[in-house]
Symmetry: C2
Subunit: 308 residues, 2 copies
């Protein structure tokens, strides 16, 4: 007995979508809404709907169980992204350990002693919690509102909130997002301590932390880590901590050793159809198709790159 | 460098809360809003703010790594809760295995062959997706709205949505909620296949599945399981599957062997203060205190029961 069966072909029509109307004799002036499922949108996508990921803005976090692939977002956090790449290229993270795994919250890694050489990277940076990008972004909005921001949607593959009145935009703390740990002072972060969201979106962290990207692949290497038993999920001294074998910029890894991924572009008609497929569930399994979708319940599809 | 420090004592005042107004000479006619943090609300709670959990409506899922404690919700799903208890008491689940672990979604267990004796339990039950409880529940509303329901809040410790116009109420698919797997037919579930939400709340499942309770303790025994490599996270035949040592109703376990938990009552002033503490973050670490809270970002506190 399988439970939520994705991939089931939707049959029949749904009155709420108006898809039961008689077939017009003349071609309709606009393309009719296709009552497609998530799986069908992906199946019907073309190569142009997907993009490869810039290896200069991709990080590999190499753990004993495998690789975590992170796409960086230099548009939203240019100084932090640059600093993190400097740290990575200085092998700052190699041989460090995961320091924290808190249930339904974050996994975090860095140098608990704070003694490592920064190799030319900044030890602290001005916060990049928001950017003056609201009216410049290529932005695909979600139509159903949000509890934490005036408007939300996607830009460049990232979940983004914006406020057109103030001009501010910022990335949102959805599952898999990567952020910069900091102390009490807003400008105390550098990127030398990084965390990934592994639970329900802690959206209250939005605009309180600099986000720098999201995990595209390998989340399971983080989410399955034993939880730390100390306060906030930090590991206690006597607990085994998973070592970081290496952290690399993908461009510095030989092409044969890279993880070749493609991400569904969020500025395409295919992505808009995917939003509709998530808002109204047409799979046969659903009895209540819904009608709304929330930002962090709209993951952006990633797949292994295929030969063309 | 610690990141979100709970437990930090808030100092100063926040203009947005009006807490900076001059101290009145006369006692105020109503209790002033206390600018408390989550940690302070818990510290200031009294024993009466907490409840113990009914052992007749508590399940223990015994895994090799430890115990998962589930509180059942007979008010919302009386027939399924009763059927599950019959299955558990017939030792239906003992010796079965976890069958599915899907990243950012669910962990599921049951009998993949469907050959076990049901020991008097029903093999299928009418769906209990919603109940006519909206106007009868003891209900603590959240003030900030919801994308999936007309109104949301808490009742009896569970995250609940309601629609006063239709009279319907239903539990919501937040992290840790326990549901009944089913096939395509809405009435095909029985409770012989159960799942727990381990990722961002899949609220699109609301009103599509019968929810029966939530995990109070031991989530990490589920969330850290290796993910299944088959479709939808089902384990393939050659993958090791974690065995279920036993599943028990807590009342059938000797008192010395029980996990004694207390849950913060959701019908108390303390819980309303906790909602406010989650809406406006007063911890020193926050620079943007927020203002809203979303249903599944409002976990109900659980603690080990202390001697009184």
């Amino acid at each position: 007995m399988a439970f939520p069966k994705s991939g089931v072909i939707a049959i029949g029509c749904l009155a709420t979508l108006g898809a039961c109307a008689p077939v017009p004799i003349e071609p309709p002036p606009v393309a009719p809404m296709r009552a497609t499922t998530h799986a069908q949108v992906i199946e019907q996508s073309t190569p142009a709907d997907w993009r490869s990921v810039d290896p200069q803005n991709t990080l590999y976090l190499e753990l004993p169980t495998g690789r975590v692939v992170i796409e960086l977002a230099p548009l939203f956090a240019p100084a932090h992204v640059e600093n993190i790449k400097t740290l990575v290229r200085g092998k700052y993270f190699d041989g460090l350990r995961v320091t924290r795994a808190q249930e339904n919250y974050v996994v975090q890694w860095g140098d608990p002693d704070g003694k490592r050489d920064f190799e030319g990277a900044a030890r602290s940076l001005p916060a990049e919690f928001t950017s003056m990008l609201a009216n410049e972004l290529r932005f695909t909005p979600l139509p159903d509102g949000d509890l934490y921001a005036p408007e939300v949607g996607f830009s460049g593959g990232f979940p983004v909130a914006r406020d057109k009145d103030t001009g501010l935009a910022w990335m949102a703390h959805c599952y898999g997002m990567v952020g910069v740990g900091r102390g009490v002072a807003p400008n105390s972060g550098s990127g030398a301590e990084l965390y990934v969201v592994i639970g329900h979106a802690p959206r209250h962290l939005d605009r309180n932390v600099t986000l720098v990207g999201r995990v595209l692949d390998g989340m399971e290497h983080l989410t399955t880590l034993p939880r730390g038993s100390g306060p906030l999920g930090f590991y206690e001294k006597d607990e085994p901590r998973v070592p970081i074998k290496a952290m690399r910029v993908a461009a510095d890894v030989s092409p044969a050793q890279r993880t070749e991924l493609e991400v569904l572009r969020t500025d395409t008609a295919a992505f808009v159809r995917l939003i509709e497929a998530r808002r109204f569930r047409r799979e046969e399994w659903f009895v209540e198709p819904g009608g709304n979708v929330e930002l962090c319940n709209m993951p952006v599809p990633v797949r292994r790159r295929t030969a063309r």
